[in-house]
Each structure stands twice: as C-alpha cells, then as structure tokens.
C-alpha cells in the first residue's frame, strides 16, 4: 500500500472541482457519460407515486426535484425488512415516526426496503456505549449499525460479529456516489472501516474543512481603532492589544479580551491551533519528521516558543484570566455572544454559531473573516480537520442484504449530493409555505424548536443525525451551485427554492463565503494528524495520564503558574512516562502502511 496522506496536493483528483464550473444539468450528464451510465429513463419515474415526491411540483411557485434512476433490480419484491440502530432524537409531522416518514415512504417505493428501529440514543455522555453494550450482551445486534464508536467497533471485530463487505462493495457500490466520492485525500475515508485490507463497514464522512479555522474579526472595531485585518501574528497581537486598550467590548470597564480561547488549545471553536500552526507545530498531532518517522508534535521545541508567546499574551490580559475554565461552547455564549472578544479562530459555521447572539446583543456588530495570520518565519498552517471521525457504520455478521443497503445509500447520495437534482426535502418537514404568494420558509418548519433538517430521518448515509454524507464536498458544491447557477438565473424565472436560498440573512451569506474559502485552503494550509488508527497498547494504558499531564502543563505555563522552562522537563516526563514506547508503536503502524 502506498504511504498515506502526503502533503502534496498535486495528485488530488481535480475532477470534482471541475464539475462545479459546469451547469447543474451538464454536470449530471458529464458524470454519466464518464461512467457510461444510461441516461435517466423517464418511465422509471412513473413508478413513484406523485405524493411521495420531494419538492412541491404542484405549487404555483414550487419546483420539481429530479429523482435519480432507480437502481437495478429495485424495488425488491417481496419487500425486505432491515433493522437498524440510530442516533436520535428527531421530531416528526403528525402521525409520522422514524419507521414511517416521508423518507421511509419514498425509500420503500424506490428500494423495497422497510426499516425497523432496533434502538436509538441521544448525545448524552456515554449513552451510545451503554446502548451498544446492552445490544451485544443480549446478543441482538441490528442488521445495520449507525455510528458505532471505536471501543464498540474493536470489540465487535475481536468477536467476529461484523460482516466483511469487501466483495459486495466491489460488485455493487456506485462508481460515482460511493467509490469516487469516498476516494478523497488518498483514501483517508477508509482509515477505520478497512481492516487488513478488508472493508468491515462504511465510513462516516463529514464535510471538508468543516472545523478548519478562519480568522473571525470585528470589522467595526477595526474601523474604530483605525487598523486593518492582521496578516501576521505580530499584527494580530497589535490589533488585539488595540481592541483591549480601546475597551471596545460590551462588558464592564477593562473587560474586553484580545482573543477568545478556552481550555482546549486545539479544538473546534475559539481554538488557538492556527497560532501553533504559525510555528509549524500542532499539539496532539503526529506528523512526519525529516527521516520519515512520525513524531509527537506536543513535545517539539517549537511548542515552547508558542507557549512563551501565549504566556506573554495572557499576562497582558489578551486572554481571559479564566479562559482555562471555558469549554468551546461557553466561548460562543459569553465571549462572542456577550461581545467581550472581537477576534476568534473558528470554523466557517461560526457565522451561525455565536455570531448571531453577538449581533443580537450589539446591533452595530459587523463581523468579517479572513485568512489566518502567518508566523515569524512566514509559516501559515492550521489543524487539518479530518472529515472521517472515530466512528463506523457496521453490518451484522451474516446479514444478507448488504447489497440492498449499498444501493439505497447510493441512490439517496445522488439525490441529495448532486445539486442539479434540486433536493430540498419534503413539504411540511423541511419547509413550509409561509403565505399564498408562495414565499417559502426554507430552514424552519413548525416541527422543532429551531431550524429543522429531515435528512436526519434518512437511514444511513447520506442522512443521519449530524449529517453524514458520502461526499465531503457536498455542502460546498451546493453553495457554488447557488452562487454560480441560481444567482445567474433571471429574477422572474426563479422559483421559491432559489429565492429562499438566494435571499438569506447576511450571516448565512457570510457562512457560505467562509465555507468556500476554508475548503479552498483545506489541503494547502492544513497540518494533518498522520496517526489515524485505533489507539496503540501503550496509548490505552498510559494515554489518559499523559494527555492530562500535557493539558495541565500547557495551561500552567500560559497562566504563569509554572516557568516556561517547565516545558523541557515536561517533554522529558512525557518520553519516559510511556511516550517513547508510544512513539515506537505509532511508527510500527506507520511503516507498516508504506
């Protein structure tokens, strides 16, 4: 096997991006021509009753959603019942439930599959483990298991309880919507689902650059202090200091912060990872050294320089004095929503998380985003957000219908992920008509407390709670379709779907822009964590205490409770406390990959 995940982006497949330049219909045709698939047969669609269709073709201002061709041999007759476990919760329209929703009704008509709920869970700490362990103990594994956590996955593998889907996958998996879609970044998608070259499940795939940071900054504060957006760490320091000195924030006197941060230095929101990246290192990541071995970045000497910088910032009051008590989601409320900080490193979706509260509390707040500043030697790097989290979709050993599930996934993946199909869910679940003029409420329905997305009701990718797709560029493709195709449609030819999305509030537009920006910089600016498999033996034994030591030491150094030189003894402690052995084990795996 070739060595995985080099920085070199030259061999990334350009085809997907190229598609985007073409119009939606052209894109679909091009794909089919490329893979020699038959063009869509109109009579195929006749079999699906109109009331099951997504979209609103009967409304005066409605639109049609194009359904992909029905997979060969489907719908199966007689229908097949498949049990599955799901991550909940959901809300439904009257009378519907997870086994009977617009999704299951259309799906049954297309594929002949009836889904039956084995069990589900919510995101409470440990709940998912609890439910899977009970299922294993009672010897009642469902046919299809959603988002199996790593611990459970290892246990299932050890006890030979999972179906090897390698051969079925080769045979029936869709060439575009499964095989090609999941081949990004040199096959990183299969980092867990493939064991010794055999596919033991399907990967869970999030969106590209989903947690990649951009620099979010208050433009109105920049204007007030007469500065422009920082491009280097030095300038960032100057701007943060200016914000603090001018006391731009909403809190009491002197409450303004330079930059929002929390106890996790490298995390998903209000992270400091681009500051470490400016020195070319990334705490908690494993990266290749000059000899081609993997090294643990947290103990590299550059970390000491970054800690020294942060220590200085903390003593100047640029970081909150109690920042180490904050979790990322608390930053969103107190520091960003409460307008105490005007600078943060957060992902594109920061535009709709934290910022809405900021603008609500201070109507003058004007946020903008920009590229991350470069370090003293001109390095500009951030943590590469891996779209394949530590979880896998699994099939029960002996389950006979893996092929049907794969076909279903491909059909829905094509429906959702090809923007030309114009899928926006079902009337009454994903959107409703706000008035008789055909104005559409695209995000919210009356079902839930806030915006709702019925792809949660879909069993398996490209649905599920949390939005697992097969294509990590799904969201970006949609944004580009909206900007490049819909926006160029003359206004009087636009239907309600186009209008609803093209309007949008300023923050949603900002989100779209930041998303495209982050995806464009995803491969080039990311420092990747190259250790991608299950924890090694020594990690399982000593990992927790070493992580604790690291987190505590870094915070103590930043807050000045320990000297900066403590870093050297920490690195020594880490090595002797199991770090050396972990490094050996990691490299054993790493070189086995080559």
């Amino acid at each position: 096997m070739s060595k995985k995940f080099p920085y070199d982006t030259a061999d990334l497949k350009p085809s997907r991006r190229d598609f985007l330049k073409w119009s939606g219909a052209g894109m679909a045709t091009a794909m089919m021509a490329r893979f020699g698939l038959a063009p869509i047969l109109a009579q195929n669609m006749g079999e699906i009753p109109a009331e099951l269709h997504p979209g609103s073709p009967t409304n005066a201002r409605g639109w049609t959603t194009t359904l992909p061709p029905i997979p060969e041999g489907m719908p199966v007759d007689p229908p097949v019942t498949i049990t599955g476990s799901r991550r909940g919760p959901w809300e439904f329209a009257d009378g519907d439930d997870i086994e009977n929703s617009p999704f299951t009704r259309l799906n049954a008509a297309v594929t002949g599959i009836q889904w039956k709920l084995a069990f589900n869970w919510t995101d409470n700490e440990g709940e998912v483990l609890q439910k899977y362990n009970l299922a294993i103990a009672s010897d009642e594994l469902p046919d299809f298991m959603e988002t199996v956590p790593l611990q459970v996955y290892s246990e299932l593998l050890e006890n030979d309880l999972l179906e090897d889907i390698t051969d079925v996958y080769e045979e029936v998996a869709h060439p575009v919507w499964l095989k090609e879609a999941m081949s990004f970044s040199d096959g990183i998608a299969w980092r867990l689902a493939e064991v010794n070259g055999r596919k033991m499940g399907l990967p869970y795939i999030e969106q590209a650059a989903q947690n990649d940071k951009v620099l979010w900054i208050r433009q109105d504060w920049l204007d007030a202090v007469g500065m422009s957006a920082p491009t280097t760490i030095e300038e960032l320091h100057a701007v943060a200091t200016a914000f603090k000195e001018a006391d731009m924030g909403q809190g009491g006197d002197g409450a303004t912060l330079g930059i929002a941060a929390n106890r996790q230095l490298n995390t998903w929101y209000c992270s400091l990872d681009p500051i470490f990246g400016a020195w070319g290192v990334m705490p908690t990541f494993w990266t290749p050294d000059e000899n081609g071995d993997l090294q643990y970045d947290s103990v590299r000497p550059e970390i000491k320089e970054v800690l020294g910088t942060l220590r200085a910032w903390y003593s100047e009051g640029l970081l909150a004095q109690d920042f180490f008590t904050f979790a990322p989601w608390q930053n969103a409320g107190t520091h960003i929503g409460g307008n105490l900080a005007g600078i943060m490193y957060s992902p594109a979706f920061g535009a709709v998380y934290g910022l809405p509260d900021s603008v609500a509390n201070d109507p003058d707040a004007r946020w903008t985003f920009g590229d991350i500043p470069t370090g003293p030697t001109g390095i500009k790097k951030k943590a590469w957000s891996n779209p394949v989290p530590d979880t896998v979709y699994c099939f029960r050993k002996g389950f006979e219908h893996v092929d049907l599930v794969l076909k279903q996934i491909a059909w829905w993946a094509e429906l959702l992920q090809n923007p030309a199909n114009r899928y926006h869910g079902f009337e009454g679940t994903d959107y409703f008509w706000r008035n008789e003029d055909g104005e559409l409420d695209p995000m919210g329905s009356t079902l839930d407390l806030n915006g709702y997305d019925s792809t949660k009701h879909i069993w398996g990718p490209p649905g599920t709670n949390g939005g697992s797709r097969t294509d990590p560029f799904f969201e970006t493709n949609w944004i580009k379709e909206r900007r490049d195709v819909w926006a160029n449609t003359p206004e009087d030819e636009r239907d309600a779907l186009m209008e609803a999305f093209l309007g949008g509030d300023p923050l949603s537009v900002l989100w779209d822009e930041a998303n495209v920006f982050a995806v464009d910089h995803w491969e080039a600016d990311g420092i990747k964590n190259h250790f991608l498999t299950v924890p090694t033996r020594t990690m399982e034994r000593a990992g927790t205490s070493l992580e604790g030591l690291e987190a505590e030491t870094f915070i103590n150094i930043i807050t000045g409770q320990e000297s900066l030189d403590r870093f050297d003894s920490f690195a020594e402690e880490w090595r002797s406390g199991g770090g050396d052995r972990i490094t050996d084990e990691v490299n054993e795996w790493w070189h086995g990959q080559m």
Partner: protein, 293 residues
C-alpha cells in the same frame, strides 16, 4: 443570669433566623436565576447577561417548549409513570408490610420472608441481567419497564412494617374477636391509623419516579419513549460530541440557555406543587417512624 441567658438565646435565635433565611435565599437564587433566564430573549440569556431579572422579556421560550412534541411526550410519560407507579407501589407496600408486621406465631415463616426481602434489598442482579429479564418479559419500551422492576421498594416496606407493628395490638384483637377478617382489619384499622406513614412513602415514591432517569435510558430502546428526566439530560447534561458531528442549527439550539431554562422550570414546577400538600404528613411521618423504632 436568667435574663442574660434569655438575651443570649434571643440573640442566638435571631442569628439563627438570619442564617437560615440567608441559606434559604441561597437555595432559591439558582431557581430564580433560571426562571429569569427562561423569561429572557435568546441572545442576552446565552451571553450570560441575565442574573435575577429577565432581559428582553418574552414568553416565547415557554411557547416553544410547550409546542415541542418530544418534550410534551416525555412529560406525559413521566406523569403516567408517577400516577401508575406510585399507586401500584403503595398497594404492594401495604400488602407486603401487613403480614410481615405480624409476629412469627401468627405468621409462620415470617423470618424467612423478611430475610428474603432484605437480601433482595442488599443484592441485585446487576445492570445487564436486569436488562435481559426486562427484555425477555417483553417490557422494553413500555411503561411496565419503568414501574415493575422496582414496584416493591423494600426500604418502604420495612418502614411501613415497623409503623404497623406500633399500632396497639388490642385494636386488632378486639376486631378479630368480633369476627373481622384480616382484610377488614387492614382496611379499617391499620390504614386509617397509618395515614402519616402512607403519605410519606407516597411522596418518596412519587418523587423517585419523577426524578428517575437511568431506567428510562436503559429500558427505552427508542428515545421517543424517554420519560422526562431522561429526555432533559439530552438538553442539559454535557453533550458528548467527540465521536460524531452535529449540525450548526442543532448546536445553536442546544446552547440556547433561555429554552433550557424554560424546560427546567416546566419540569420542576409539578413536583414543587405536590410538596406543600403532603408536607405536614411528611414531617410528622418521619418523626413517628423514627421515635417508634
């Protein structure tokens, strides 16, 4: 000296009152804070601006909570659970405690039964075996799974039994001489005399049922059947999102402190209302039970 002590004890009383009042206020403040948050707008609540008075006063949070099907369904399950679970428990507790309160001469084998119950109180089968039993009885996802496994709270049985034992024997004897059956003795003598204990144990049982969340988590394989406290954990307890992602809309919803405040208030108020009605029994019940043992 006596005046001094009076003066001192009055000062002591005064200090006590002040201390206890402060302590009571301390207990009330978090509730008042949550109440204020629940009546505030989303943005100021989430930013932490609200202390004890609502900002951007709105009832919208309550409208949304009361309009959420998931929340209302879990509330209905909890109410059903409290009503059926508590009545079933009380019937079983009384029926169990009555024979056990007799002397071994009246009820031969009493000691064996007592040990049987004590054993069951001290040792249980553990999580997985309990789950397997409930599952093989076909109780998963039913109200029965929440009510039946702990339908006989043995601690309550022992309290009730001791209470029954302190009822004067002469009352029972005179009734028996007049030809009353045990049912009549229980119904017309023991129960009316034990109302304080019954009220106390009913309250224990109701509060336990209302607050229980773990059995809901284990025995309800479908989250749609979660009772309220289990459901509330999904919106209040720290979420574990390390393994899989979440939509930004959901993230926004989950960090909405105003909505969470409204949910906490709606979940707390029903049980708070029950307390004053039963409290006088509650106090005397504990005293009686304690003195007579």
């Amino acid at each position: 000296m006596i005046r001094d002590r009076n003066w001192f004890s009055r000062l002591f009383d005064g200090a006590n009152y002040i201390f206890l009042t402060l302590f009571a206020v301390l207990c009330l403040l978090p509730l008042i804070h949550i109440f204020a948050v629940s009546l505030s707008g989303r943005a100021p609540a989430t930013a932490g601006f609200v202390s004890f008075w609502p900002i951007d006063f709105t009832l919208e949070n309550y409208e949304q909570v009361m309009g959420s099907r998931n929340f209302l369904r879990s509330l209905a399950i909890s109410v059903a659970r409290v009503l059926t679970g508590t009545s079933l428990s009380m019937i079983l507790v009384i029926l169990t405690a009555y024979p056990l309160s007799k002397t071994p001469r009246v009820f031969r084998g009493r000691t064996i039964f007592i040990w049987f119950f004590v054993f069951a109180m001290l040792f249980d089968g553990g999580l997985i075996p309990s789950f397997l039993v409930v599952r093989s009885l076909g109780l998963l996802n039913t109200l029965g799974a929440l009510i039946l496994p702990n339908a006989v709270p043995i601690f309550s049985v022992i309290l009730m039994m001791n209470f029954f034992r302190d009822v004067p024997k002469e009352l029972e004897e005179s009734a028996l001489i007049d030809g009353a059956s045990h049912w009549r003795v229980l119904w017309h003598i023991y129960i009316p005399l034990s109302l304080p204990a019954i009220a106390t144990l009913t309250l224990f049982s109701a509060v336990n049922h209302w607050n229980a969340w773990f059995d809901g988590l284990i025995y309800m394989t479908d989250t749609a059947n979660y009772p309220m406290q289990t459901f509330l954990r999904t919106v209040i307890v720290t979420l574990d999102l390390t393994q899989v992602g979440i939509n930004p809309q959901d993230l926004q919803r989950l960090s909405d402190r105003a909505i969470r405040g409204a949910q906490i208030i709606v979940a707390t108020v029903p049980i708070l209302i029950v307390y004053p009605f039963l409290q006088r029994y509650f106090i005397s019940g504990i005293k009686l039970g304690a003195v007579k043992e």
